[in-house]
Amino acid sequence: MRDEIRTIQALMEGADYVTDAAIATSVYLGMTLKKPLLIEGHAGVGKTEVAKVMARMLETNLIRLQCYEGLDAAQALYEWNYPKQLLHIKLEESTEHSLQQKEAAIFSEPFLIKRPLLQAITQDARPPVLLIDEIDRSDEEFEAFLLEVLSDFQVTIPEIGTIKATHTPHVILTSNRNRELSDALRRRCLYQWMDFPGFDKEVRIVTRKVPGLNERLAREISRFMETLRTIRLAKVPGVAETLDWAQALSSLHADHLDEDLVAETLGCVLKDADDVRRFKRELGTAGLKRFVPAEGS
């Protein structure tokens, strides 16, 4: 393996993020080829974390654009501060300034509201990490607009001129696959699918993030989650749920799983009434052994 990739993996682990070679490789390629990285995967597998960890690792700013339905260019890029401009015009009314001067004044940087995309390309110090979170929640029109910004990293503001990126930011896009993304966007990005972690990785994550937990419980929790994800559920629990649950169990000073404990703390893991019912039926017929087979026997 390349030393650079190993270093990145070590750095990410150092920033408290348990990762694997595939993710480290795509992060490395994204940084080296200067291409956006599209991370897809189920909710709660740690997609957003990649960007946060990257920022921590590179000791740079994290600029986050949270996508939602109806998000448009004005909210993502820049907007003139209209009320402030109007106020300024009122205040300037009695002064002797010429029209040009007044105009130049109100269409200058102090009146510009920089939104995340513009912020990301006007950083002074070093390239920031730009996280475009849940791109699948934005509209198709916004996606097309984003494509344009991501391809040349420059923005034209008619009143000011073209602003070129001081540094090309490291771009991470995440998607929960609520909507199919366009082929054009996919072509522009490197791609990484993030699956639920395997048993060993999950044990490592749990022990790393919830320090007080004994190892037996960590293994039981991970085994339980692994089996649980094979049942057909409406909301399959992610790593975030595992950690919540481990945290809860740790504060209850539990040292192993039993049926009562699982039933009491189930709310940390399953967030859908039907899922809870389905799980309880399964637990009633097969017992906890179905989920946590006795180890080492």
């Binding site: 393996m1 390349r2 650079e4 990739i5 070679a21 595939a22 490789t25 795509s26 490395y28 390629l29 080296t32 080829l33 291409k35 990285l37 897809e40 109806g70 448009d72 004005a74 909210q75 209209y82 109007l86 699948d136 509209d139 198709e140 029109e141 696959r177 609520n178 909507r179 199919e180 082929d183 996919r186 072509r187 490197l190 791609y191 990484q192 699918w193 409406a234 039907d274």
Partner: protein
């Protein structure tokens, strides 16, 4: 490290293998792959694999096919210290036409769009009444069940279907809506609102046009249903410029996505071929089919999607499964409409187990057995 030139030819050839496996990649994507290979350890198979996967896979569904290509193509000889040399050994012989495509723009796509244009012309009988029969005669046609038309009249009815759809499509308006917050400044409205005040105090804004509605069709093509599916499809595709996107699936015992086929060279032909999709093993498993849809095509459905299910509700599967899947579909979709051609028969009551299970979970339940019912359907193709 292998010479860049070798890397380039090898990667381009790998691109061909991918294309043959149904993963067409653009030249710029392949160039990225070359750049990626230049910065990873070529002696490390796993690393080469991950780098290429990051560059050349666009969605998770493609990974299995990509893995097969990679394994077949990448005859790796790290032990002998040759790195990627294995790559340059002749892989599945490229066909002449493929090489042609490598140079110019892919010809296939062009053909397709041309064909679609052709179809539109064929269906766009805008030259007013021409083919439309006299009024009374037309009314008769409007109310007549599709299944009772003699075969030779079906083409005529199909033309009429398209005609009605085009008329309806023209009526849909696309206005911007004024709004209080957000949106862009509406200069005209701001000026007018402030005219009496002598200066601009209050800003008016307007919102972007609302997003186009998408349609997902799940058509039962078992037994007697395929005639109805055919007319409904024809109707909706004629309406399709009103919608952002139309996705079509057929099912009998299994779910099949036919969107691409319907976009193919001959729409009419593809439509006729729908019957071939159906499997004759008997029975309709609606619940399982919708389950399959929910599992694999979840991303097509959101609040801006209307889901149309066309089926007579004769389900040989478990009604519980159907009910559960309809519920999950309804939670995600903007609107769920169930069309049942049997509803056109006044004595019909939705008592089949499947229908009874699904009925409380749909927003609109209607017939789709004649032209009049298709016309009425258009009124329901909006979100709640």
């Amino acid at each position: 490290m292998a010479a860049p030139r070798d890397l380039l030819t090898a990667t381009l050839r790998f691109g061909q293998t991918l294309r043959q496996a149904g993963l067409p990649r653009t030249v710029s994507e392949l160039m990225d792959a070359v750049r990626a290979l230049e910065v990873v350890d070529l002696m490390d198979r796993q690393e080469v694999y991950m780098a290429l996967r990051a560059c050349l896979v666009a969605r998770v569904e493609e990974i299995p096919a990509f893995d097969r290509c990679f394994d077949a193509f990448w005859i790796f000889q790290a032990e002998e210290g040759q790195g990627l040399e294995g790559l340059t050994s002749p892989a599945p012989a490229p066909h002449g036409e493929d090489e042609q495509q490598m140079d110019g723009p892919p010809g296939g796509e062009q053909k397709e769009s041309l064909a679609l244009e052709g179809w539109e012309e064929e269906g766009a009988d805008d030259g007013e009444p021409l083919e439309v029969p006299g009024k009374s005669e037309r009314e008769v046609l409007m109310d007549r069940d599709f299944s009772t038309f003699p075969t030779e009249d079906l083409d005529e009815v199909a033309r009429l279907t398209v005609l009605i759809a085009k008329r309806l499509a023209r009526r849909v308006s696309r206005r911007r809506r004024p709004t209080r917050r957000g949106g862009v400044i509406d200069l005209r409205r701001s000026m007018r609102a402030n005219m009496m005040k002598g200066e601009i105090i209050e800003l008016r804004r307007r919102e972007r046009r609302r997003r186009k509605v998408r349609l997902v069709l799940l058509c039962d093509v078992s037994g007697s249903m395929d005639l109805y599916s055919r007319f409904l499809l024809q109707f909706l595709y004629a309406l399709q410029n009103v919608f952002g996107r139309v996705e079509t699936f057929t099912f009998a015992t299994r779910l099949t996505r036919v969107t691409e086929q319907l976009k193919g060279p001959s729409y009419q032909l593809a439509l006729r071929r729908l019957t071939e999709v159906r499997d004759f093993s008997g029975g309709t498993r609606i619940g399982e089919s919708i389950q399959e849809f929910n599992r694999s095509w979840r991303q097509l459905v959101d609040r801006h999607t209307i889901v149309l299910v066309l089926s007579d509700g004769w389900d040989t599967g478990e009604p519980d499964v159907l009910a559960a899947e309809m519920l999950s579909l309804r939670r995600r979709a903007g609107r769920v409409i169930w069309l049942n051609p049997l509803l056109g028969n006044p004595s019909y009551e939705p008592l089949t187990r499947g229908m009874a299970a699904a009925l409380p979970l749909v927003d609109h339940f209607a017939a789709a057995h004649n032209l009049a019912s298709l016309r009425d359907l258009a009124g329901h193709l909006t979100l709640r």
